[in-house]
């Protein structure tokens, strides 16, 4: 195993300690010893453990299928350079960089992550990461409630349903109430001219859950007219490469998930949430922040700063309870952005848009299917299906295709709607296969009737 102690070591150490036996030293008080067996499988030698887990991985047939699933988790190309550097022991096995002298590598990388997030969102300041896009949204609501002294938020139904579920879970415990902004027939948020005077935040996702580039600017105008902060949510961070920035659209806080920047879909995590804002709200940011400074010899150095906001200093008065964040995921995103650069990120984003449009055309050409494309989209859009979308998705699975997400999972009224996604990894052949499969399924369905 991974412990180095020989029986002689243990004996000699016990003698130094003055304890009669390892059990005497380490047993819990009488009465609290575990009675009976613990239900843990017997130890496996390493080679068998490797094979055992390999077999579990191989059982996941869905990982090998052609996939048009997005909906908050996106399959993108990961340049081999990214894990090669990110998983260096010196990054992987380091602790939180509280000791600046021993952590300049991690600290500078976080400073670079903060900068990338600011450059992508147009905001002034970014924190060092939060757990994922959904908790980034929760943190933004806490910031807005603190900034405005209000306890209600307005959130678009176009925000990812799981993000909204997480917000609802926290909001119930925190005593914050939520009003929903409906969507119009094109899947865009219906924004009122003004919000009620007790609304702390107006929250819109763009591209929204249906893939549409949504009405952030009108929400920001209405928000500012009513004294609310505007929160821009992004689940597909790659879209930031080409779309107007949250700042340009008038957002006060930009939050989202940066999974698309080099992190695998990984059955749901770990991913990496970001929270960026204007200078005005810097002290309300949750969690760690890295700043640039100098050491006693005048050398440039990086250090955790504004720790007076954080739980280890301020305890129950902290701006958030977050401690451990997603540092390694933020490092992966940083190395990804460095590796692909402006040129690569732009071309990858364009490949996503090109493939999504090719997919939309191919599907629109299949009799019985329609594409909701009246609102502009990035790499995701809604398909109207001639048979229930959930049933269609099951049929395509049997052909080795993950067709997309049936929207009835989250919007029960949308039984004939499938959310599909194309990325730079989607091929012409996959699109042709998908269209052929839809044609055949539709033919079968019509024949069956």
């Amino acid at each position: 195993m991974y412990t180095p102690h020989t029986p002689q070591d243990i004996r000699a150490m016990l003698d130094v300690i003055g304890a009669p036996s390892l059990e005497a030293l380490t047993d819990p008080p009488a009465g609290l010893k575990i009675k009976g067996d613990i239900d843990v499988a017997p130890a496996l030698p390493e080679a068998e453990a490797f094979a055992h887990i390999r077999a579990m991985a191989d059982e996941n047939g869905a990982a090998r299928m052609t996939s048009f699933l997005g909906a908050g988790a996106y399959r993108h190309y990961q340049p081999p350079a990214v894990p090669y550097f990110a998983f260096r022991s010196e990054f992987l096995t380091a602790y939180t960089p509280y000791q600046a002298e021993a952590s300049q590598g991690s600290l500078q990388a976080i400073f670079e992550w903060q900068t990338y997030i600011c450059l992508l969102t147009g905001m002034d300041v970014s924190n060092a990461s939060v757990y994922d896009g959904s908790t980034a949204l929760v943190e933004s609501v806490i910031m807005a409630a603190q900034a405005t002294g209000r306890r209600r938020v307005a959130i678009s139904r176009g925000v990812h349903p799981l993000y909204r579920r997480v917000l609802a879970t926290y909001a119930e415990g925190m005593g914050i109430s939520i009003v929903e902004l409906p969507l119009d027939r094109d899947g865009l948020t219906v924004v009122p001219a003004r919000f009620d005077d007790d609304i702390a935040a107006a929250i819109v996702q763009s591209p929204n859950f249906f893939g549409a580039i949504d009405a952030v600017a009108p929400a920001a105008q209405a928000g500012h007219a009513s004294g609310a902060l505007t929160v821009h949510v992004t689940a597909e961070a790659l879209s930031l490469a080409v779309l107007k920035t949250p700042r340009e659209l008038g957002a006060d806080i930009a939050v989202g998930d940066a999974q698309s920047f080099g992190l695998p879909v990984g059955y749901g995590g770990p991913y990496v949430g970001f929270v960026a804002t204007t200078k005005e709200h810097v002290r309300r940011l949750p969690g760690r922040l890295v700043g640039q400074t100098h050491d006693v010899d005048g050398r440039k150095a990086y250090v955790l700063t504004l720790q007076g906001r954080e739980q280890h200093i301020r305890r129950e008065l902290a701006s958030s309870n977050i401690c451990t964040n997603q540092a390694l995921c933020a490092l992966i995103a940083t190395i990804y952005l460095a590796t692909v650069g402006r040129k690569g990120l732009t071309s990858i984003a364009c490949a996503n848009m090109a493939n999504a449009r090719a997919l939309a055309s191919a599907i629109a050409a299949v009799p019985g299917f329609g594409v909701a494309d009246r609102a502009p989209f990035f790499n995701e859009f809604v398909v109207r299906t001639p048979l229930p979308a959930a049933e269609l998705a099951e049929r395509l699975e049997k052909r080795g295709i993950l067709a997309g997400l049936p929207l009835s999972k989250f919007y029960p009224e949308l039984t004939d709607a499938l959310l599909v996604c194309a990325t730079e990894l989607t091929t012409t052949a996959q699109i042709a296969d998908f269209a052929r499969a839809l044609t055949e399924e539709h033919t079968h369905a019509v024949a069956a009737v």
């Binding site: 180095p4 102690h5 030293l25 575990i34 239900d39 130890a43 496996l44 390493e46 490797f50 887990i53 579990m56 059982e59 996941n60 869905a62 990982a63 699933l69 399959r75 350079a81 022991s89 990054f91 992987l92 000791q99 021993a102 952590s103 590598g105 900068t115 959904s134 579920r165 997480v166 580039i213 080409v242 695998p264 879909v265 990984g266 059955y267 749901g268 770990p270 204007t278 200078k279 700043g291 010899d297 250090v303 504004l306 739980q311 301020r314 958030s320 995921c329 460095a338 692909v340 650069g341 402006r342 040129k343 690569g344 071309s347 990858i348 364009c350 848009m353 493939n355 993950l402 730079e424």
Partner: protein, 488 residues
């Protein structure tokens, strides 16, 4: 100091990753597009040099001894890394149908059953992403539990003065009033004070056991009884669980709720501050409130996600688990088995007591009892005699290639150094650490100014935290800015 990425590169550098598909304006109207994307273009070699150089400016478990109290910086086995990288896991989409993800759900299900058995809980949720995330999850569960019972007046959360800062911060997020319970001269939470403060407003008592002084709360059963008698719930902060795995169980101590840090106790790497994994366990009366969905297995042995949890608080992150972190922890469990896990906890306690016995020859160890997996010592006397503080000793250790212990916390011990060696360190490493620290203390007596200057040999020396804080308050110095608006 290596220059920033943004000060390197030149437009057009770097590989072609995809075929040219055209320009953004071919796909979207100009009013939807950003004007410019001001990111640097770098060659892969520039990226390689940059991040390799940064990595050389870090301490890490693979390069340095890390006696960092309450952080459990044990070795991170490379088996864990390899298996978490299998394509059957990394390429699996969270919306994949359950029948195409049987291996993944099965792994999570077994991990959950293992944790429930090891810690005496009815069920665990693997959803929380970190320890503090587990804490807030449990506070939300407690709040909903009392709401369902109509006990709206239960809004007090009791937290020992030695608790992690996340405890009061998590409790405050759900609107609980935090009441701090002092420690006794024996370094244990004061049961008499707790009893005196318990009343009909009691919601939760959050306890770490062993506590952050490294001492087992030997009155834990009486505490649990007192809190339960007052109608409150007991919460176990699993930050120090590495001392107890296979030896005793929070469930048997009477805890209703708990979290674990798989990145401490179960060898998931810390990654420079995350990602972690903070599963939350619950007793039978609280488990209906766990986040949903939960892993389940039907009569035919098929695994599925159970969404039908009507009392659940909801969800605390978008998808049900930090899956790839849990794969790592699962690998750790299956190569150890129950006996291996128990042995690790025993050896962690042995290593801590060995250091304690040797270090008390030259630094004050304030509590007489044997410790568990960690212990605290104090540089208060040294400071009075020489002016050298705990901070200076910690910085001196950095010069010797040893990571600093946790400092100035818990606050009940002045000039506190909290030391946790973990079970994976050898007697040889522990002996070398003791001699390094002994020499530093001796140096402090001979030449205190020299120790106060340390570190001398790290990539940077002590940094100016005051200046950066003043600017950061105005939002300055927290990012690189283009030269044109460098004042911003």
């Amino acid at each position: 100091m290596p220059s920033l990425l943004f000060e390197q590169g030149a437009p057009g550098r770097g590989s072609d990753f995809v075929r040219d598909a055209g320009a953004p304006k071919q796909f979207l109207e100009p009013d939807a597009l950003r004007a410019d994307l001001p990111l640097p273009d770098l060659t892969e070699l520039e990226v390689a040099r940059h991040f390799t150089e940064l990595s050389h400016r870090n301490f890490s478990v693979d390069t340095n001894f890390y006696p960092l109290g309450s952080c459990t910086m044990k070795y991170n086995p490379k088996l864990n890394e390899a298996v978490s990288g299998f394509a059957g896991f990394t390429d699996l989409h969270p919306f994949a149908p359950d029948h195409g993800a049987q291996g993944a759900i099965r792994l999570l299900w077994h991990m959950e059953r293992t944790l429930s058995s090891l810690f005496g809980m009815d069920a665990f949720s693997l959803m929380p992403a970190a320890g503090a995330h587990g804490e807030i999850t449990a506070m939300l569960m407690a709040k909903k539990y009392f709401k369902d019972r109509g006990e709206h007046e239960r809004l007090t959360c009791f937290v020992p003065d030695t608790a992690h800062g996340t405890n009061p911060a998590s409790a405050a997020m759900v609107g609980y009033e935090v009441v701090s319970i002092p420690s006794t001269a024996r370094g244990r939470t004061d049961l008499a004070t707790l009893r005196a403060k318990l009343d009909g407003t009691a919601a939760v008592c959050m306890m770490t056991n062993p506590n952050t002084l490294g001492l087992f709360e030997d009155e834990i059963v009486d505490m649990t009884r007192a809190v339960h008698d007052a109608g409150g719930l007991m919460y176990y902060d699993g930050a120090n669980a590495n001392a107890i795995v296979g030896l005793t169980r929070p469930g048997d101590m009477g805890f209703d709720l708990m979290h674990l840090n798989l990145h401490k106790t179960f060898s998931v790497p810390h990654g420079g501050g995350g990602p972690g994994s903070g599963p939350v366990g619950a007793s039978a009366r609280l488990s209906p409130y766990l986040p949903a969905p939960l892993m389940a297995r039907d009569a035919s042995g098929t695994y599925f996600w159970d969404e039908d949890r009507p009392k659940s608080i909801g969800a605390v992150r978008a998808f049900p688990a930090h899956f790839l972190a849990i794969v790592r922890a699962y690998a750790y469990v299956i190569v150890h088995g129950a006996e291996g896990l128990r042995s690790n906890s025993r050896l962690a306690v042995l290593n801590a007591n060995y250091l304690r016995a040797k270090i008390k020859e030259f630094l004050t160890v304030p509590y007489a009892d044997y410790c568990r997996h960690e212990f605290v010592c104090s540089a208060e006397e040294l400071k009075k005699e020489t002016g050298v503080r705990a901070l200076d000793l910690a910085k001196g250790l950095l010069d010797a290639g040893v990571h600093a212990p946790t400092m100035y916390w818990p606050h009940v011990v002045p000039e506190c150094l909290m030391i946790e060696p973990t079970e994976t360190e050898s007697r040889y490493t522990l002996d070398a650490f003791v001699e390094t620290l002994r020499a530093l203390v001796a140096r402090a007596h001979e030449d205190p100014a020299a120790v106060q200057q340390m570190p001398l040999h790290t990539p940077v020396r002590r940094v100016d935290e005051a200046q950066v804080g003043r600017l950061a308050n105005k939002g300055i110095g927290l990012r690189w800015s283009p030269p044109s608006d460098a004042q911003s």
